[in-house]
């Protein structure tokens, strides 16, 4: 979509509803700056989140921002791994677990792109152990949940076993770079 005032691509889209009438404004970077509208990328996340919430059909309020409105169903969406609901994320701005990025992918994508000034995928450092660790991740996920249950049920022996298993999961690094000597593992923590 192009800017209302010139032929450059519009970067700011604003839809307002006044007295039941819908007004749309589409502006390029220059004209948006002239109109005093902030660039999407320069907005802090809380502001973005507020808009995100406001734009939701179920919430009241006259103003709505296009491009961020979602179907009413999505608010009930939950992350299968940690149980976080989308509504809770909107309230706190915090995700519940690494899997939330997949669980809420379609909601997060536009949000992140705006907050990151157009950045949509990772460039830069990659952990050496990444990729080969899916099994370990699932294993850890199971252990950490069981540990929680064990402690809640006051099964302390079981909890200790689970802690040992978690620990061996960390030290058991078949795919880690061999240059990182395992010897450092045995150096004991310092006293406080």
């Amino acid at each position: 979509m192009n800017c209302d005032y010139c032929n450059k691509p519009a970067v700011v889209h604003e839809v307002t509803v006044k007295n039941g009438e819908k007004h749309e404004v589409h502006l390029c970077e220059e004209h948006a700056a002239e109109a005093g509208m902030n660039m999407p990328g320069s907005k802090p996340i809380n502001e973005l989140l507020t808009k995100f919430v406001i734009s939701h059909p179920s919430s009241s309020g006259g103003a709505a921002t296009s491009g961020t409105s979602r179907s009413a169903k999505s608010v009930h969406r939950r992350c299968a791994t940690c149980g976080l609901g989308l509504d809770e994320f909107r309230r706190t701005g915090l995700l519940g677990c690494p899997d939330c990025y997949e669980s809420f992918r379609s909601q997060l994508e536009p949000l992140i792109e705006r907050a990151q000034n157009g950045g949509v995928s990772h460039l830069g450092k990659t952990p050496r152990r990444a990729g080969a660790s899916i099994d370990r991740q699932l294993h850890r996920q199971r252990l950490i949940q069981e540990l929680d249950h064990a402690v809640n049920a006051e099964q302390y022996e079981r909890a200790a076993q689970l802690r040992d298993q978690l620990e061996s999961l960390e030290t058991d690094t078949p795919n880690a770079d061999e240059n990182h000597d395992r010897a450092s593992e045995s150096s004991s923590p310092k006293k406080e």
């Binding site: 992140i112 950045g119 995928s121 990772h122 991740q137 690094t173």
Partner: protein
């Protein structure tokens, strides 16, 4: 806690561009794969995280002389001490779940465990030395990563609790001393411009704090779509030179337009510091800021710049409390502050 026996982390604050950039910092946000993020973790899981982090972080290949401070059992004074040294955040100091910080012997490195992310590691250096700070924190990250699975996806990079930190999880920041921009009233223009450049301008103690002593924490906000070195170079080579130059030019304006007024401000500030019997922290920081400005502009001599730099920290409440035998009242605090400043400056 050993910090108490270390009255000051650094001997001096000398570094490139230290007239404007007091110190710089690189922060990395990391989370453990297969673990809920801190805000969603149970108490058991938070403790488990601490146990694992402690075992991994307190080794010499992470950094020499690491100490571990359990924030839950730390006194409020020790928490304040850590915050005054910028080793923990305000939020971290004030929350109540299981959390800890590991600090290296030279206090350049701190690793907060169970802050917003499982690990928040930061490296502080005097002056503008972001290359050096980045290299060091990167080595720390490598050492920790060799023993821990980080939550990472090829699409999003390092996964963080707040989606605004996702990607590199890196934040570059500087503690900028902008007294001339403050005097000329142009610091608000810097703040507005910074926003357009995707920078955050915060107070002396970071997020949610006010500026004090004309210090502003300026940091990059973008973490995704650009590599660590690209982000660093953009911040250090394209953005910061403008801010440094803007402050330097404003200082020159003060010298050129009204040197008497400038001298009056600087010497009056110094005279108060040398003679006052009661000093509030904000007043002291404001006066120290003017003396610091005067020293760099050579409007005042025979004052040790490092002593002034150290005083900014030493006059903070928890640091003043260090040498006191009992808890100081507000009034006693003001007196102790004035006494310390006077004796340091030979008043």
């Amino acid at each position: 806690m050993e910090l108490r026996e270390r009255p000051h982390p650094w001997n001096d604050y000398n570094g490139p561009h230290d007239d404007v950039i007091m110190s710089c910092r690189v922060r990395l946000a990391r989370n453990l794969a297969g673990f809920p993020f801190v805000n969603r973790a149970s108490s058991t899981q938070c403790h488990e995280m601490l146990r694992m982090a402690r075992r991994i972080v307190l080794t010499d290949d992470v950094a020499p002389g690491m100490i571990w401070v359990d924030i839950n059992s730390a006194t409020s004074r020790d928490r304040a001490l850590l915050m005054e040294r910028h080793l923990i955040s305000k939020n971290f100091s004030e929350s109540s779940h299981a959390r800890a910080v590991a600090v290296s012997g030279d206090e350049s490195l701190s690793v907060m465990v169970n802050e917003e992310d499982h690990l928040r590691m930061q490296l502080l250096r005097p002056g503008l030395q972001l290359e050096d700070a980045f290299e060091r924190i990167n080595a720390v990250d490598d050492a920790i990563e060799s023993r821990l699975d980080y939550a990472f996806s090829s699409r999003w990079g390092y996964l963080t609790a707040c989606p605004t930190n996702v990607g590199t999880g890196i934040r570059f920041s500087v503690m900028a001393h902008l007294p001339a921009l403050k005097i000329t009233g142009e610091v608000d223009r810097v703040k507005r411009a910074a926003k357009d450049l995707n920078l955050a301008v915060r107070g002396y103690y970071g997020e949610g704090t006010e500026s004090a002593g004309d210090f502003y924490q300026i940091s990059n906000q973008i973490t995704l779509g650009r590599s660590e070195t690209e982000l660093r170079d953009e911040f250090q080579k394209q953005i910061l030179p403008h801010i440094i130059q803007y402050e330097q030019e404003s200082r020159q304006v003060l010298v050129d337009r009204n040197p008497i007024l400038l001298d009056d401000r600087v010497h009056r500030a110094f005279a108060i510091l040398k003679t006052a019997r009661l000093l509030g922290v904000e007043e002291a920081m404001k006066l120290l800021s003017r003396v610091r400005l005067g020293l760099y502009l050579e409007r005042i001599a025979d004052v040790d710049l490092n002593a002034i730099n150290r005083l900014f920290l030493q006059i903070q409440p928890a640091h003043l409390q260090l040498h006191a035998e009992s808890r100081l009242s507000n009034e006693e605090m003001r007196q102790a502050r004035a006494d310390l400043v006077r004796s340091t400056l030979g008043g």
